[in-house]
Symmetry: D2
Subunit: 337 residues, 4 copies
């Protein structure tokens, strides 16, 4: 931690800051500069928030040296952590393509999607039984019935099931049916949900909030990781910016950065940022080329009749075509599908 | 709803869209243009999401005519709705200044803050018993003990209590102690929390998410409003932008816009966007001048020793000074403190 | 300058960085930490860009202690600098309200606007003769003829003229006619224009770019200030964010921050961020309440017939009404109109 | 153009709008809805700005049906336009990799870089003789001497030269030396520069402004295209968002969108958004996989000693390695290097 003093902070204020630093068990080193005095606080006390220091009189700004997250850091584990989902392993050379409809609408629609994505080479089925919707007037999912349909699809196809959980009180039932429990972008900082998930031993797929920094995403993952029960897969799905030609802006730089700073596997959802099925393939290809460990893709047997997000859903045919293209790119970057 | 067809959409596609429009009980009018054909869908079916139409082959884009929210719209109620909190009424000529510490730390700290803000003219006490924190390693609040301290502060000062609730399972206990239940920015789209709050009959203070549009904020309010139990007070607290000199960017344009489109009262939190107590007064004054119905201000007896957000907390002295300045501005815009 | 070394940077890399620091005439102090070693580089060498240090092997990140701007800093001049425009002085207790049409369209329109804004209390006339337009197909201004019309309006009303200059080659002619030369948001980093303006002795009104940080705005001002010829007035006019209910997001926090860190006067354009004349008054009031030194407001005798930006232009009547309201707010914050 | 009337707009206002529409030579069709009346204005009058209609009393909002750009639209030319730079053609199956130092520092540095990038397979040399810098205290380029060095590098290697031009008055001299004239992000809306470039017959590489929408970029290209002299190559280089782990956010969605809506070739600069040489390769690979027509990459013989942007410059070795990887990805997407 570096503490920059205000230009006019006198010796009394400087001494006071040094006392506060030492009071926290840190070593304080005063650096006198031409324009500013700076106090270096040496030692690892990441739990003290930056604001603590800013509130001390005479302090102009503080600069953390260490990132706030610990468990998720690649310094803890130089190798990418692999997460097992039944027979599929996320974070290995083989990419994990997870696909299926945005929401579970019926047995027929889900089975049809599950078989199509399996045939095309997907390793897991995605599908929402509980749907977060901006408007209370929109379709909010089949809930328990949806979970049962997903379980049936798993029985028929052997594909493990990835599905979203919205509230702490639903974790238990979703745990019963799902192979991976997904936390959506709106809930990335829903701490009571993260706390609840940390008590269970199933992998959590944690989506980046639409305006979360990389550090905030990693701190959210630590809510789950710190109990040691559930492994975490990170998922990028676009951030909110001024761009208006796509629903969200997919940041490939965030993917590249995360692959450097965390050992957690990182997958990419190309469907939500695209908002238009024509733009899904280029985003999917970019993600694989840049080092994603997998993809989460919306596929619907009849996008035109989808209850939710039809515009960005691929048909089974276009998904199959995309998988062929991805196979070549994966191979070009030393991975495989 | 206006549906713009792709340049090359043929008559078959146009007919198909018209059938889909009529199938939803809307009237379809085809407008043939030089470059594009457009289909106007007439009737009020706001519950059909935009994406529904975009998934139909040949559709290039759709343009909603009506906003998606209904109950929160000023068209429903031309007068600003007033919300009663004990003796204080939010949304009237008299501004509602709600103040207190970011988090409840002890009986002494809370009583001291409560008395100070009351003396300065605040009409309600804010204070967090449950704290959402980006890092799992930060202080997360005194929880039930914090609620009891707030209740004691209310008993001593007569100030009603505004406090945050983080999870559906905590709503019942917070309801027991609080006069207004606050939904923080991170939870604006935590729909299971909003659903739960809609079952109770106490006012909800709903904060705008850091990257929520005005429409998304109003749709979130409708999750609560639609049961008719709980009135809603909106609260602006800054959005996330590229600006790095403040914690968040307070958008006065959003305040001005909301005051035009919704009948709900709108207050402003100048402390969180500032991130620095020196910047709180100008933001507070701007909000009052632009028509806010009240403020939510962080005041701590000893900011330097605050567990949370000390840097942006006003001292009782500076809060008192600010109140004097706000009184003049309020009067200049035909309001009072 | 603080240089944080990578976790695995060995002694050779550390020594190498220390040599580079000393080679630049700075003192290097090595701070050994538990997780990271840090090198403090002491001395004022703001001209060395951050990227210089980042390119040295073993460096993880660098943290500047001093801001990059110098001349614009309030540390240079604790008092707000006043800028004289004929009889009007920007930066004093009396606020400088500059008003007029977005673009000069005709002698009649301009004179009518000039007289109306003078009657309402404006101290200077704004009007564009050279218009920057996103589309090459839009009206681009009357150019020299527009300057002559503005000069005639000054002769008739006595109001000094503020007008935009778009290109280095136009500076000379605009200088001949204008009292203040305005640099628009799109040109804030048009360095050849800034260089050219720095050669002349007339005040420059420098608008913040729509995605410029406060530091970038101040650095842009230093391009002009460093010759000592032209004083600079800063002008805020909204930034680009995800918000879609206004044209741009006016950041009052940026105003508050700038008033603290720079001695240059800062005025606010409430018209461009609003994009809608109904939203101009609340933004104008907020700016005055938060400490702006003046306003730049679009007023058009007949907004419906304006060539440019009619939707956000006030009529003379609504401007007059606004001035009355601003007078009260100015007085509430110890200023006057 | 769709004009949505305010809820309470009476028949007089509706008639008035219809008259204005017809007065502009458009056909007006009135659509009466339950909540709003809507007027469809039929005909192609893209030169009338949206604000024109918004200023008419009773108008709530307007919705353009057609995009504002014309010449750049793919509707004009279904095939991607190819741009010839000496023997290299941008926009064909073979990707155009343009590489070299951020700024020309010396003959030796430039020749060394030119030979290295040629050996690795680059088809053109980039290098800045005129440098736009946020701070007036930073190195601003060798100017004419830099152009001469670039010409010498072309003579020695045969590589055509891409170099930036900052001001209208420099266009003539840059034209004399350069094969492609580059417009930097800060100048994307410097219309006097764009106007000047449109008079010359050399290709212009137009970089997207850091907060420009795709439509604004295409409109800027039309400033150049409308004279028919100079072909345009678009270049994406990252936008400004809240993300703080990279310098800018590279938007692959913008690339995918542009490839659909414009016939102009689109290349990507992975160096500026990365800000860190470690992140350049994943961004470069993503761009190629998503369909970029080429790349603009910073390569410096000794990044540690670069005057500008050393941190994001690749060494010749790492560039050579990247080229090998890109070759595989190009082949996977049906392109070649």
């Amino acid at each position: 931690m570096i503490i920059v003093m205000q230009k006019d902070a006198d010796e009394g204020k400087i001494r006071h800051v040094i006392e506060r630093v030492e009071g926290k068990g840190l070593e304080a080193i005063l650096l006198r500069g031409e324009q500013r005095n700076v106090i270096a606080a040496i030692g690892d006390k990441r739990e003290i928030p930056t604001e603590y220091w800013l509130a001390i009189p005479g302090v102009e700004k503080t600069v953390p040296i260490l990132s706030k997250y610990k468990l998720a850091s690649r310094e803890v584990s130089p190798q990418t952590t692999t997460v097992k989902i039944n027979d599929c392993v996320v974070g290995e050379e083989k990419l994990s393509i997870i696909a299926g409809p945005c929401s579970v609408e019926s047995m027929e629609q889900t089975l049809c999607a599950a078989e199509a994505v399996k045939d095309a080479g997907a390793v897991a089925l995605r599908g929402g039984a509980y749907k977060p919707r901006s408007s209370p007037y929109s379709f909010r999912g089949l809930e328990k019935e949806g979970l049962e349909i997903l379980a049936e699809a798993r029985r028929k196809t052997g594909l493990p099931v990835v599905t979203e959980v919205l509230a702490p009180e639903d974790v238990e039932i979703v745990y019963e049916y799902a192979d991976v429990m997904q936390v959506g972008a709106r809930n990335m900082q829903n701490y009571s949900l993260l706390d609840e998930l940390s008590k269970f031993d199933k992998p959590v797929l944690l989506k980046r909030g639409i305006s979360a920094t990389a550090e905030e995403l990693l701190l959210a993952s630590e809510y789950i990781l710190r109990t040691g029960n559930a492994p975490v897969i990170l998922c990028l799905r676009g951030i909110r910016t001024f761009e208006d030609h796509t629903r969200f802006t997919l940041s490939i730089g965030a993917l590249a950065h995360l692959k450097r700073v965390t050992h957690l596997p990182v997958i990419v959802d190309p469907s939500h940022p695209a908002g238009d099925s024509n733009l899904v393939p280029p985003l999917a290809k970019a993600a694989v080329a840049a080092g994603a460990d997998g993809l989460l893709v919306e596929v619907h047997p009849e996008p035109e009749n989808a209850y939710v997000d039809g515009a960005q859903s691929l048909t089974p045919e276009s998904f199959n075509k995309l998988m062929g293209e991805l196979r070549l790119i994966a191979s070009a970057v030393g991975r495989e599908l």
